[in-house]
Structures are given as structure tokens and as C-alpha cells.
């Protein structure tokens, strides 16, 4: 219902897009919900034939995906797609492609019921790539699978040569290894990005196996015989060593049925017949070969032995076997199958020997037996367990018990006498059922150019002369499935008369993939290199347009900004930040700030980063003294990637802001006009390097500021209520640093007031020197105590303190709106500073404010 309604609404849209999008055939094998996504996925000259949501299993991995069948110039390809986003706006991205050509295989399993819902299952393979497709059974899924099947059948009968399927390249993503990162959901970067590299290498190696393997022809001999519980004859050489005298088979797989009909064989695992026959087989193998028994497996009467030429034994790996009974209750082993699997070089081979239900009318039962073995026989020592169909080559032999139908014994005898075997084939049940795709789907069998092998009178070459006079039948067969297999011969041997069956043999020349170790190493290394490269390429990458920013001359408290641009030029989202300096220090010196200091950039995105220099009171003195370098290297770090250095240079103009009282009272020349070396000398030893023999009581600069404030009037409200503008502050600073002003500072009173505070807080040693800080707080309880601390201060500090207190008292008198508490708090913060940052607490702040308060409310007596 849902698909019908949505498809009709989409039709009109489809017409609109007809010219720029691929054709999407809204047929019965199409999940219509994906039509918009398919229009975006499929290019105009391709056609989407079908699309279903399904589960795809690759080895142990099972993922929900969307399977799409596309067509181009009568060629088809299955796309396995990942679905991104929610329907109906989902996007499909193809992560693997299965061209439907000679290398393609599809096996459709009978519909099964899992947890109450019906599931349709198909095994798809393309060269070495294999996967299992599972979808909830409905008309769409059913038709979809049939479409693939049909496309596969049609591909065999093309009258034009198959293309190299270059047309599917458009569905390839740029990289197989790293998903295109969607910047919106960074968190999803996780799993896929970090997919196991080992898995990737293995998978990629498998894809390129053709390049480092060569097909070597191996002779594989298969034989099957229902021996009717008899002891072995003198020799089996005529059957087993019938190959060309100088061409011993490389591999033998010999299957017996009814090897042991004794009751003991049903009850006990041990069978004396097994040993007898096995011994006889070994004696009878090709005399020119030396064989090693790889595995023998027996289930009651069914036995399968695999031998390889000794020289190949080192290249046999992962040998496993199992059996499956389909007889009475599906458990007893009188009917069923046994299998041996092995890897020969890098081709996986599975041999199956079976004995299916007997009697002409039991055709359905045989079909059932066959499908049970095919589906349920698995090799469980393998990780993951392998089923029969998961092998490159399958050789399936046994007493299949399929009969000739709609014919008579006379007719068969007549045909055999005339060597007209082909007239019998069309009456063969096995061929009939295979053609109807009920059994042996995908298997091949050579022409049966020999007489039916059943049923003979024991001891003779005569067909059944008993009352039953059974119609002879090709019960004993060998079929195969896989690439590069050529049957050399397929025949029976009449001379063995111990059984009512004749032995059958089929010999093959099979292409086995042999690894060229040198080539493999080359490709392996190439892949590792490629992955290394991808890993390196997929690291975050950015460019910055400036690595070096020169701020030129910078003055005290002057904000200067420069910016540079950072652009994400890499394939992934970038997170950047300015890395802390070693030893946990801030990312830059205190006077430098980056904005933003960290951030995230999508692919191709740019961001301007502003660096700002502001030399504030805390940094001024160190820069004045040349104690701190006027350059900085910022480390711009990309998370999971490289570091970029951004160099910053400036030239700081030393200033009276940041000097010490001792220095300031001993010079006449404006500080800004002194060479820096003179300033440093003055600061280092004020007395020795003084300009003035008799120092001033307080710094001239302070006096100028006070004078300016007096002139501008102290009565106009709270002079500390507003801050001055950048320009005004620079004007004051410039005046103080370069010329002795006449007091006519063309700025607001607020700017001058702010400069007073800046001046005090920039002093190299506060008005209350650092070493008195603690004492000062301890003595804040009473005025008397506080006064005694001030008495101890060095003269210039004491004088400056008194000068400031008198000024503040005057200020309080003139400006009624200023509160003494507030003034005490503001000025104590700049005059009474802790030796190190971060030592202040609210209670300490209160104490230093109280300390100053005493002086503001009492008559100043210091």
C-alpha cells in the first residue's frame, strides 16, 4: 500500500528530473521510498532496475544496507549501498559493486522463516568478493532477487562481448577507507574511520588476488562407488589409476556408499570395512604419484577420502570435514552426505560425497536430501564456519539415486547398444530437476557418455534380471561448481562386478590459484604504502596566510590587533587550538591574546584569528626592564595532527608606567625620551644612576596627573565612575612619557583619573611595597597599627602614600557623591598589591581596604 501511494506521488517529480538524473524504473522490484535517493545516485545514462533494503553479511559482519540493481547498455551491476540520513531524504552511497558478468554468481536459498517472519536469502559473489543478502520476504524483495537472477542468466547469452564494466566506476567513492566526513555529526567519525587496518589489508589483498596469483592446472580425480557392503576386490587400479600413465592426479577425492551395511556400522563408529577399503584405495592410486592422505570422513556407509600428491601437501591448509545424516529421522546416517574442505594454495575446495534417498518415486525426497546437505553441511572448525557453497570449487559426487523416468529397460538397453546415450539424458531425473532449478543450481556436469551404472546383477555386467527388472539409471554422478574447471573424463568401469553399482570417475583439470610469493610481497608492500599514505593524507591539514605578525611599535595600554586566516585545506574536519606553553604556562605571554583561541573548521572553511597585544600594568614593568622578550611563538595545534608556529614580534616603547618610584623621583628627562639602557640602569641602581642629586619627594608624573585632575575639577561627581577612551589614555601617556606638559591635557577628567589608577597599578613596586603587604593586612585593625606600618616604609613610598591620602581626602571633601568606602577599595587595590597574583581573597581585599580607610577618615599623621 505504502509503496503504491508514494510511487504515484513521485511520478510527476520523476518527469521533472528526467533529463538530469538517471532513469529510475519504478517497477515491482523497487522500494519506491528510495526513488529520490536513486535519482541522485544513478547517472543519466544508467537505469535503476530495482532497490530493496536488506541485511548484508560479509564474514561475521552484518550490516543493514540498501541493494540496488543498475543497468547500462544491457549490462547489470549490483550496488551495495549505505544509507545516510532518514527517508525520504536519505542518500545512498555505494560501498561495493558486483558486476553481473562471468565472474558473478548468485545462489538463491529457499525462503526460510526466522523468528516468525519470512526471509529471502541469496549468496552473491563476484570473483573473491562474497556476501549474503537477506531481506524480509515480500513481492518487492522476491522480484528484486529474480531480477538479479534474470540479469545473470541473460549475461551468459549476450551477443555482444562483455565490457570491462568501467561504467560502474562512477559509483566508487574517492576512498574506500575513510568515509566522507559529514561535518554536522563529528561524533560519527568513530567506527568506520578507525576500521581495522588489518581487515582492510586482507580485504584489499583479496581484491587484488588476481595480480599476485597464477592459475596452475591441477589434475583432480574424483571417484564414486556404491560398493553394496562388499569387501574390496583384488585391486582398484583400473578405476583409480586409469589416468594417463605419466600424468598422476594431483588430488584424489574418492567417495564410497554402502561401504558397510553391517548393523555394527550403524551402532559403532568403528568399521573394519573402512580400513580394508582405505588400504586398498591407497594401494591402487596412480603408481607415478606419492600421495598423502589429507582426510577421511565416514558416516556409516558413506566414506570420503582425500589425498594429495606429497609435493602439494605443504600448500594444503585449513582442512576440515563434517557429515550430515538425512536418513531416518534425519539423523541416521544411512542416507546423507560427508564433506571435506581444504585450501589448496589459495583456492578453497570442497568435496562432497552423498547418498540420497533411493527408489524411483522418491524424487522429492532426494531433492530434499540434496538441499539439506547443501544448506546444513558446514565446516565448523573454520572461523567463521564455512558452508559448502562458500568455496571456490565444489566437487559433488555420490549415489544420487536419481532414475531414468518415462522409459523402459528395453529402451535403455537399445540406446546403450547404439551408444546413443544422449537420448537417455532427457529422461534423467537429476538433469530434469536441475533444469527446473530445484537442485544443483550453478553446478555443471559433463556428458554421460557411459552406460547407466545401476542396477547390475552382482558378479556380472548384466542389468537387473530379478523380477523387479528395474530400469537402469545413472545413480552415480559427479558434478562440479566453480571457475576454471575443465572436465577431462567422466566414465564408469564395467569390470568391477562385486556390487550392483559400477564405479564412476571424473577427472578434472582445475585452475588452482597459486600465490607468486614475490608478487604478493610486492603488492602487500604497495598496499601498506598506500594505507600509510592514506593515513598521512587524512590527517588534518590547514594553511595559514601569515606565519609572522609584526605589530611594530606598541605603547603601554595600547590595544593593537593583527589577524591571520586559517583555512582547512585537508580532507577532514579540523579542530585547532593554541597549545599551552611548556610547563603548563598559558599559550602566550600575558600581553598577547588570540581570538578565537580554539575552534573547529569544516572542510574548506576559513576563520580569521585576531591576535591582540595589550601591555597592561601587570606586564609593563617586565617589558620596561627588558626582562621579557618582545616576541612570542604561538603553537597552533591541530588535534590529531601537526603544529604550526605563529611568530609575533613587537617593539615596546618603554614608559613611565611600569617604573619604580625610586627611579621616577631621580630623573628629569621624560622616561619615553630616555634610551632603554639608561632606564634599565636607573631602575637597577636608582641612586648611582640618578639624574638628580636630590630626588623629588614624589614622581613628577604623579604630580602632573594630580595637577590635571585639580584643574579639571574634582567636584563633578564620581571621577572614577567612567573609563577614558583609548585615545585619551594614549594622549595622557604620551604627554607623561615625552614632554613636560603644562597641565593642559585635552582629555576628560575620567581619562586622567583612569591614568592615575593605571600609573599606580603599573608601578614596579606598589606604593605599599610587596614586602609590606602581609604586615599591612595584619595591621589593618586600628589606625594606630596602620600608621606604624607607614612609618616603616622607605621615604619615597611614605611620601607618595601621604601625597595620595591628602589628595583623596580633598577629593572626598569636594565630591560629595564619592563614598569613602568605595574610594578606599579602589585605591587600596592599586596601592596595596600582593607579591604574586592569585593570593587575594575577599577577606584580604576587605583588610587592605580597611587599612586605607583609616587614613581617609582620620587626620593624616604620617
Amino acid at each position: 500500500m505504502e509503496s503504491a501511494s508514494s510511487s504515484s506521488s513521485l511520478d510527476s517529480e520523476g518527469n521533472q528530473h528526467r533529463h538530469d538524473c538517471g532513469r529510475v524504473w519504478n517497477g515491482m522490484s523497487m522500494d519506491a521510498r528510495y526513488i529520490p535517493a536513486l535519482r541522485r545516485l544513478v547517472p543519466p545514462d544508467h537505469r535503476a532496475v530495482g532497490c530493496v533494503r536488506c541485511m548484508i553479511s560479509r564474514g561475521r559482519k552484518r550490516t543493514p544496507q540498501v541493494c540496488v540493481l543498475v543497468e547500462h547498455m544491457q549490462e547489470h551491476c549490483v550496488l551495495i549501498c549505505a544509507e545516510e540520513g532518514a527517508l525520504p531524504n536519505a542518500t545512498l552511497k555505494s560501498d561495493s559493486r558486483f558486476p553481473i558478468n562471468v565472474d558473478f554468481r548468485i545462489d538463491i536459498e529457499p525462503v526460510s522463516t526466522v523468528g516468525g517472519s519470512r526471509v529471502i536469502t541469496a549468496n552473491l559473489s563476484y570473483k573473491r568478493k562474497k556476501l549474503i543478502f537477506e531481506a524480509d520476504y515480500d513481492d518487492t524483495a522476491d522480484r528484486f532477487v529474480k531480477e538479479i537472477s534474470k540479469a545473470f542468466e541473460n549475461s551468459k547469452y549476450r551477443n555482444t562481448p562483455a565490457s570491462d564494466y568501467l561504467w560502474v566506476e562512477v559509483y566508487k567513492n574517492n576512498s574506500k577507507f575513510f568515509l566522507d566526513v559529514n561535518p554536522e555529526d563529528e561524533d560519527d567519525l568513530g567506527e568506520e574511520n578507525k576500521a581495522s587496518r588489518e581487515c582492510m589489508v586482507k580485504c584489499l589483498m583479496q581484491e587484488r588476488e588476481d595480480e599476485f596469483t597464477v592459475l596452475n592446472e591441477f589434475r583432480i580425480f574424483t571417484g564414486t562407488w556404491n560398493v553394496n557392503g562388499m569387501a574390496p576386490p583384488e585391486s582398484l587400479s583400473e578405476w583409480l589409476a586409469s589416468s594417463a600413465p605419466n600424468e598422476p592426479p594431483d588430488v584424489y577425492a574418492i567417495g564410497f556408499q554402502e561401504l558397510d551395511l553391517s548393523k555394527e556400522a550403524f551402532v559403532f563408529a568403528d568399521s573394519p570395512r573402512e580400513k580394508e577399503w582405505l588400504l586398498k584405495v591407497k594401494e591402487s592410486l596412480h603408481p607415478k604419484g606419492r600421495y598423502k592422505e589429507i582426510k577421511t570422513v565416514r558416516l556409516i556407509g558413506m566414506m570420503l577420502s582425500v589425498f594429495v600428491e606429497e609435493k602439494h601437501a605443504p600448500f594444503v591448509a585449513n582442512v576440515d570435514c563434517n557429515s550430515l545424516g538425512t536418513g531416518i529421522l534425519g539423523m541416521m546416517g544411512n542416507k546423507g552426505g560427508v564433506g571435506v574442505r581444504l585450501d589448496l594454495h589459495s583456492t578453497s575446495i570442497c568435496f562432497v560425497n552423498c547418498h540420497l534417498a533411493a527408489h524411483a518415486e522418491e524424487r522429492e525426497r532426494r531433492n530434499q536430501d540434496f538441499n539439506d546437505i547443501r544448506n546444513k553441511l558446514s565446516f565448523n572448525q573454520m572461523r567463521p564456519a564455512k558452508s559448502v557453497s562458500e568455496h571456490d570449487q565444489i566437487y559433488w559426487m555420490g549415489d544420487m539415486n536419481y532414475r531414468l523416468q518415462d522409459t523402459t529397460k528395453q529402451h535403455v538397453e537399445q540406446a546403450c547398444a547404439n551408444n546413443d546415450f544422449s537420448s537417455l539424458w532427457e529422461r534423467d531425473q537429476l538433469r530434469d530437476q536441475q533444469a527446473k532449478r530445484i537442485i544443483f543450481i550453478g553446478f555443471e556436469e559433463g556428458p554421460l557418455n557411459f552406460k547407466p551404472t545401476y542396477k547390475y546383477d552382482v558378479g556380472t555386467n548384466q542389468w537387473d534380471t530379478s523380477e523387479k527388472a528395474r530400469v537402469p539409471a545413472y545413480c552415480d554422478r559427479v558434478l562440479w561448481r566453480g571457475n576454471n574447471i575443465r572436465q577431462l573424463c567422466y566414465k564408469s568401469h564395467d569390470n568391477f562386478v562385486i556390487s550392483d553399482h559400477k564405479p564412476v570417475l571424473a577427472e578434472f583439470s582445475s585452475g588452482i590459484r597459486v600465490v607468486d610469493a614475490v608478487k604478493r610481497k610486492e603488492i602487500y608492500q604497495e598496499l601498506m604504502k598506500q594505507l600509510d599514505k592514506e593515513e598521512n593524507d587524512f590527517m588534518p591539514q590547514v594553511t595559514v596566510d601569515e606565519h609572522y605578525l609584526n605589530f611594530g611599535r606598541v605603547h603601554f595600554y595600547e590595544r593593537v590587533q593583527r589577524s591571520f586566516k586559517i583555512t582547512n585545506t585537508g580532507p577532514v574536519i579540523v579542530r585547532f587550538l593554541f597549545k599551552e606553553q611548556p610547563k603548563g604556562r598559558r599559550y602566550a605571554k600575558d600581553w598577547l591574546k588570540a581570538d578565537p583561541h580554539n575552534g573547529t573548521l569544516k572542510k574548506g572553511e576559513s576563520c580569521d584569528i585576531t591576535l591582540e597585544i595589550l601591555v597592561d600594568p601587570a606586564s609593563a614593568s617586565k617589558l620596561n626592564m627588558g626582562e621579557e622578550k618582545m616576541s612570542e611563538v604561538l603553537v597552533l595545534h591541530l588535534v590529531d595532527g601537526k603544529d604550526i608556529f605563529i611568530s609575533v614580534d613587537m617593539e615596546y616603547q618603554h614608559s613611565c608606567f611600569g617604573c619604580s618610584l625610586e627611579a621616577l623621583v631621580r630623573h628629569m628627562t621624560p622616561i619615553g625620551l630616555l634610551p632603554q639602557e639608561t632606564l634599565i640602569a636607573l631602575e637597577t641602581d636608582p641612586v648611582k644612576n640618578a639624574e638628580l642629586g636630590v630626588p623629588f619627594e614624589t614622581p613628577t608624573e604623579l604630580w602632573i596627573i594630580m595637577d590635571a585632575l585639580q584643574r579639571k575639577g574634582l567636584s563633578g561627581g564620581n571621577i572614577f565612575g567612567k573609563s577614558g577612551s583609548q585615545v585619551e589614555i594614549q594622549t595622557v601617556r604620551e604627554a607623561l612619557d615625552t614632554k613636560r606638559p603644562d597641565g593642559q591635557l585635552d582629555v576628560s577628567v575620567h581619562a586622567v583619573a583612569e591614568c592615575l589608577l593605571l600609573f599606580l597599578s603599573a608601578l614596579r613596586e606598589p606604593v605599599i611595597p610587596y614586602c609590606f603587604f602581609k604586615k599591612c593586612l595584619d595591621s589593618s585593625v586600628t589606625y594606630t597599627q596602620a600608621k606604624s606600618v607607614i612609618q616603616e616604609l622607605p621615604k619615597v613610598h611614605r611620601d607618595t602614600f601621604r601625597y595620595l591620602v591628602l589628595f583623596l581626602q580633598e577629593l572626598l571633601q569636594k565630591s560629595k557623591r564619592l563614598e569613602v568606602n568605595i574610594l578606599a577599595t579602589i585605591f587600596s587595590a592599586v596601592m596595596i598589591r600582593p607579591p604574586q597574583d592569585g593570593q587575594m581573597t575577599p577577606s584580604k581585599e576587605r583588610m587592605r581596604s580597611v587599612f586605607l580607610y583609616h587614613f581617609l577618615v582620620n587626620h593624616c599623621e604620617v
Binding site: G59, S196, D532, K583, V633
Partner: protein, 232 residues
């Protein structure tokens, strides 16, 4: 105030874990390398040649620290090399010093055609010795060996310097690729040897080596893969 060194180390450790906690690995160790030496001696070109097998003809000066990785094999062990290529400019010297810590290998590069780069080696060596742990393998590399006509530093002289200071040494060419692999691989072999000899405490953050027990994945237990050895 922060507890400086501890914060630093734990931050590094966390970063290492997140970098390596990415599913099953196909390597057993991570070795950290740094490449140091004067500006223009070809440090970045060496890294590029090693990771990409290509020569960068117009390689810009590295302004920062570049980062490259490659997985190699030593004695059947897969080892992931994490290589930090530092800026050679003198003005960055103070900053690049902070990258030495925790390096298992230091490739100290000079240019055989410029004697000044050779003359500065003792200062680079001092940094490398002071800023890395005693077991850090220091490998002296004379780059640009293809420019024989312009050679200013004889092989023997550098060899003697290396011997006197207990350094491994070779000359190579990032341009032709000659012996570049050797420089990186011999360093790894030496580090691996140190591990085998028990000279390296893998638990110490400064060792520059992280051990990753190889995940046994039976799913991939293909005989052929187990036989794989690249002996590179």
C-alpha cells in the same frame, strides 16, 4: 598554581590512548621519532621520502611541527613510526625543544654540502641529549649525498664525529631516496634491540615506545597471512 609536570604527562598519556584505542591494530609498538637539524638540511624531504616515496622538490620551510606515520616491520614485529618533523629555524629553537620529550629516536640531520649545518651539530646534539632519555637512539644523517660535487663535509669526518659521540651514522639522499629507508629502519632496529635487551622501560612515559599486544584475530587466521613477512 598547577602541578606542572604531572598535568603535562597525563595529558600526553591520554592522547596516546585515544590515538591508539582505535580498534584492532596490526602493529605491536609505536615508536616516536623526532627529526632535528638546521633549516634547509632536508628534514621534511626525508620524512616525505620515507612516508610517500616521493621527493618534494619545492618544499616550503616547515613553520611548526609536521607529523607523519608509517608502519614498518622489524624482526617480524609490526611497528608504527610516529615521526615529528620540527622546524629548523633558530627562532623556533626554544619552542621545538618541547617536542623532544618522549622520543625513542632522534634523527639529527645536516647537509653535506653546507659545512655550517655540520658545525651546528654539537648544539643540536646537546639539546637531543639533554631533552631526551638516555636510551633515545640518536642517528646522525648527512643528507644530500647525491650532490657529490658540492660536498663540503667529507664522509670520514662526520663518521668520526659520530663515532666519538656514540651516534649511528649514514649519508643519504632524500632526492634519490638512496638509504633513506635505512636511516629510519636502522633506528627502529636499534630501538627494538634496546627493548629486547631490557634497556628500555616501556612503562616510562619518556621511553617513546608504546606496546600494543597484537590482537589475535582467528577470523583472519589465514596461514598465508601468518607467513607474511616483509623483511623490509
Amino acid at each position: 598554581m598547577r602541578t606542572i609536570s604531572r598535568t603535562d604527562r597525563s595529558r600526553d598519556a591520554v592522547r596516546c590512548t585515544t590515538m591508539t584505542e582505535s580498534g584492532p591494530y596490526n602493529y605491536s609498538y609505536i615508536f616516536k621519532y623526532i627529526i632535528i637539524g638546521d633549516m634547509g638540511v632536508g628534514k621534511s624531504c626525508l620524512l616525505h621520502q620515507f612516508t610517500e616515496k616521493k621527493f618534494m622538490s619545492d618544499c616550503p620551510h616547515t613553520i611548526g611541527v609536521e607529523f607523519g606515520t608509517r608502519i614498518i616491520e622489524v624482526a617480524g614485529q609490526k611497528i608504527k613510526l610516529q615521526i615529528w618533523d620540527t622546524a629548523g629555524q633558530e627562532r623556533f629553537r626554544a619552542v621545538t625543544r618541547s617536542y623532544y620529550r618522549g622520543a625513542a629516536g632522534a634523527l639529527m640531520v645536516y647537509d653535506v654540502t653546507r659545512r655550517s649545518t655540520y658545525n651546528h651539530l654539537s648544539s643540536w646534539l646537546t639539546d637531543a641529549r639533554n631533552l631526551t632519555n638516555p636510551n633515545t637512539v640518536i642517528f646522525l644523517i648527512g643528507n644530500k649525498s647525491d650532490l657529490e660535487a658540492q660536498r663540503e663535509v667529507p664522509y670520514e669526518e662526520a663518521k668520526q664525529f659520530a663515532d666519538e659521540n656514540g651516534l649511528m651514522f649514514l649519508e643519504c639522499s632524500a632526492k634519490t631516496g638512496d638509504r633513506v629507508e635505512d636511516a629510519f629502519l636502522e633506528t627502529a632496529r636499534k630501538i627494538y634491540q634496546n627493548i629486547q635487551d631490557g634497556n628500555l622501560d616501556l612503562n616510562a612515559a619518556e621511553s617513546g615506545v608504546q606496546h600494543k599486544p597484537q590482537t589475535q584475530n582467528t577470523l583472519l587466521g589465514n596461514i598465508q597471512d601468518k607467513k607474511e613477512s616483509c623483511n623490509c
